[in-house]
Symmetry: C2
DNA sequence: ACTGGCACTCCGCCCACACGAGTGCCAGAG
DNA sequence: CTCTGGCACTCGTGTGGGCGGAGTGCCAGT
């Protein structure tokens, strides 16, 4: 059905269209990409490609542009990896150099990703649910108010105020603290509920109400923070592709919905392979005319995801390379810190 | 120079132009705003207003539009406050209801502000520098690694890892903790440097190196975090005013520069008066064609600022009202928590 | 001081037209 | 069976002219 040359023609169409953002015609292909055949032949191939749904015509007597399906084929079978330029590599190292805390790393990463790909970048904060507890701290704000601080191995810190019905002494707080830490330190957050479930039962009766309250808040924090944070950068890059989006409004709206973004990224857990969602493949209304390139990252197995959102008319090879490189580098960086 | 009726004409021009985004002519004014005079008279007034630089013509034989100077006069002398509608008031309460922690409050506020004003909203996180220490916590991660956690009265928590050359016992950490707290608890962050400066001198010799290191990191945290965080929402609203911005690109770029935003908001400290910067009055390149309406907020005297960014062709009375109302409400909310 | 009238300007819109890029199809050559 | 050159056709884009209308500035009159 699709012989070698037809695929070459498709590649030529995708590459030229990405470069010029204008429909590409048979003559241009025959000239620029030395296929050794005449425009007429290319035309026949194009007709075949159009029948199969890989390319389309904006209108009669215009050149062809790739369809979502065409991009998909291109990404899956036709695109060769394009190595990062030395300049890009250098930029990457410099950019992440000297990032102080987790916030800083994420913010720099997202900027970097947006700059390198010239698109909108999204980086999820290392998720609570996939990390482990380092320490639980209790600070007594008042006799009946505690501040619960949860510290994870990815550098994230969550805090919550706990209101108690009873009053506590400093010693009691200390007891509580060491009790919680003995159970939780080193455990994955996902295990936390199981680990602390039986605590109230084993405690002395007078401790129980307090313990129950604290544990409730602790678990609430874990659940609540399921709605995790994301950083966003490069939205201005949307405007450069005025040709691609008739209106960028729905895209901006979708990008502001954290929930949507997380859903988008949530599917890309694997740090070894880049996931590409093209146009209509996106479940998210409003991003139907965009492509999303995403990947998992983190020390060891993935703890979060990052990616970029851009027009379907995107330089996939470069974008994929950049996303992969940055994810790997940030992952190492987090592991070392 | 500018008699009563001329001011009325200016008001009419501003109001109509804000509503329709089209240049307004003398006839429309004479009809819609019953001034009791003929279009010809209005024309004379308009000529005077134009001479004074309050309005301008896009081209001969078009209506007039307000200049920055015209908006300025309108805001300062002609705009009456417009109370919040009951629906808006209800929305405000519901929106902030049940916000758990500081992050949540800020995120909800910024969304609310963007929704109510239908513009881009910016909310600065309560700044460290203007708040006070509640507690300093030290968590021993390893014999020579401490986690320093700083808790402020606005609910913000900052953490930093401290690497030590020497190893510490748990007791030593506890000593250090109580020492720091005895000095810092309840003090304003801005006082912190002065308060802890002499600590190493008064300590026992063997404690000094550790103390110096910890204090250095502590002060670093304060300085570092000067570059404070902001939350942004409603960027999609920029697209609705396609008439107002030929390109929204520079605006989006400016909004992504946190530094720029902070500079913008930084000037609005006073929680009692709304600050309005119109068009060219903005120091920030890229926001020269926008207006910024901002105000300080927080429990008691202001601890941070919030505001909106929109086209100069903006409904100033409504916007000012909304910004003021939300700032006040969020301030109370923070105070009560 | 205000009004009505009038001539003038200029933008926006519509239409017609020509141009050119690109196609599909076909007949003929290898 | 595959490729090529030729040709007629389609359709979007750019250009230029003409028209209508909105709005103005000015002036003479009340």
């Amino acid at each position: 059905m699709l012989d070698e040359r037809k695929l070459e023609v498709l590649r030529a169409i995708v590459e030229d269209f990405v470069r010029t953002s204008e429909p590409v015609g048979s003559k241009a292909i025959a000239e620029r990409h030395n296929l050794g055949v005449s425009p007429a032949t290319v035309r026949n191939d194009m007709a075949a490609l159009e029948d199969e749904g890989y390319i389309a015509q904006p209108h009669t007597s215009a050149g062809r542009i790739p369809t979502d399906k065409g991009y998909r084929l291109f990404v899956d079978r036709l695109s060769s990896v394009k190595p990062l330029s030395p300049a890009e590599r250098r930029a990457m190292h410099q950019f992440l150099e000297g990032a102080a805390d987790l916030d800083d790393v994420v913010r720099r990463s997202v900027r970097l990703l947006a700059t390198l790909t010239r698109q909108v970048a999204v980086v999820q904060y290392p998720s609570l649910s996939r990390s482990a507890v380092i320490h639980v701290e209790l600070v007594q704000l008042a006799p009946n108010r505690l501040l619960l601080v949860l510290i994870t191995d990815t550098g994230r810190v969550e805090q919550r105020v706990v209101e108690l019905v009873t009053q506590l002494t400093g010693d009691e707080v200390a007891d509580l603290r060491s009790l919680l830490n003995s159970r939780l330190a080193g455990r994955a957050l996902t295990d936390a509920p199981a680990v602390v479930a039986d605590l109230p039962d084993t405690a002395r009766p007078e401790q129980r109400p307090v313990l129950t309250t604290v544990i409730t808040v602790l678990l609430e924090t874990l659940i609540d923070k399921k709605d995790e944070r994301v950083a966003l950068a490069g939205t201005a890059n949307l405007t450069q592709s005025a040709i691609d989006f008739p209106t960028i409004r729905p895209v901006l709206e979708a990008l502001e919905e954290n929930v949507v973004l997380l859903k988008l990224l949530g599917e890309a857990n694997d740090p070894s392979t880049v996931m590409v969602r093209i146009g209509e493949e996106n479940a998210v209304e409003g991003l139907r005319s965009t492509s999303v390139v995403s990947i998992g990252y983190g020390p060891g197995t993935a703890v979060a995801s990052m990616g970029v959102v851009g027009p379907t008319r995107m330089d996939y090879p470069s974008t994929i390379t950049a996303v992969r490189a940055i994810a790997r580098y940030v992952g190492e960086h987090l592991g070392g810190a």
